[in-house]
Symmetry: C2
Subunit: 201 residues, 2 copies
């Protein structure tokens, strides 16, 4: 459901770019490829942002969704892993849009420590506690190999991070008060090969 809010927001922003001021649930739903009732139900969980008979004021609704998604405040993050995926993530423009700032990049490989990635000097993961405190980071982005991830996750939690975005292909076990979202590339590709295979000729 959060995923849908993201989509609504993106559509609202592109409408705003076009100079549109108001939009109906049916139009916004169409742009977002969902049913209008679903869109209204989604929003109704958080309040009532529209005007009956008129629709939604776009800039207002966008601001509401940003607040719901936590995009109205700044987040500090630390990126773990300076491999190819780490490089890609370090260069990811979406961080700015989310008010997420990568404050540090940590790795355990001595050949990578000291190098610059996206203008940030890679530091030794041993410094995790110091880095956590000095950056005030709440979010950890995990882009290390599967084997290293579970142990790293424990250290991340111990260091005081409260949210993890995990790109390693493992199911991490975390205390329930730590927010986790995993992006699993294997699942993405298997989803396609699975449906491809089971598709009507």
């Amino acid at each position: 459901m959060v995923g849908r809010l993201s989509v609504y927001l993106r559509q609202l922003e592109s409408l705003l770019d076009e100079g549109t001021a108001r939009v109906s649930s049916s139009r916004l739903a169409e742009l977002s490829a969902v049913k209008a009732t679903q869109l209204r139900k989604d929003l109704s969980h958080f309040g009532s942002f529209g005007v009956r008979g008129l629709g939604y004021e776009i800039s207002e609704l966008a601001a509401e969704i940003k607040a719901i998604l936590g995009l109205d405040r700044k987040w500090n993050a630390v990126l773990f892993g300076a491999g190819s995926l780490g490089h890609a993530l370090a260069g990811y423009r979406g961080f700015a849009r989310h008010n997420i700032e990568i404050r540090a990049i940590l790795d355990s490989d001595s050949r990578k420590i000291g190098k610059r990635v996206a203008n940030i000097v890679v530091e030794d993961v041993a410094r995790i506690d110091d880095v956590r405190k000095s950056t005030g980071a709440q979010i950890a982005v995990v882009a290390v190999p599967a084997l290293a991830a579970p142990e790293l996750a424990e250290r991340i939690v111990k260091a005081g991070f409260r949210g993890i975005v995990n790109f390693a292909p493992v199911r991490l076990r975390l205390p329930p008060d730590v927010v986790l979202y995993s992006v699993d590339l294997a699942t993405a590709f298997e989803n396609v090969t699975f449906r491809f295979r089971n598709a009507p000729a």
Copy 2:
């Protein structure tokens, strides 16, 4: 649900590495962080692979799941976009595990064309039709900016690809016979900031 099959398979493979030969649904479910009944129900959609009273023969079940997921045959893919995400994907080791081979990398940026990425020479996206045919690729991996993605997707479909794994943050509209799976980083991060914000203090 396909996502869960991926997880079962990964657990089966690591059990196999340990030299284990049989496993019960409850043990495998525990390792996969799901309920045992769910695991059995998932498998029951595709057949009956276990032995009552004994459990599952690991190598046999792994082979069955691989077949279900389409991992038992070779897939040819073309990667679109040689930016930082494209680089990361080109180096992704999971492709080998999935029997997916990146046969070509295409980009529209003349500065990138001709360069090597993961030992593959980047070609002009204008060559899409030739490349599709000569590689026999079925799957397109889209790692281009959001703005370029919708138009590219159309060309991909026209060129004859039947499956797309999309990393651009847009909802692509495709004919229903084309298999699509999108990985949206924005949603991933927003999921975490959303739940973080709505988490109990």
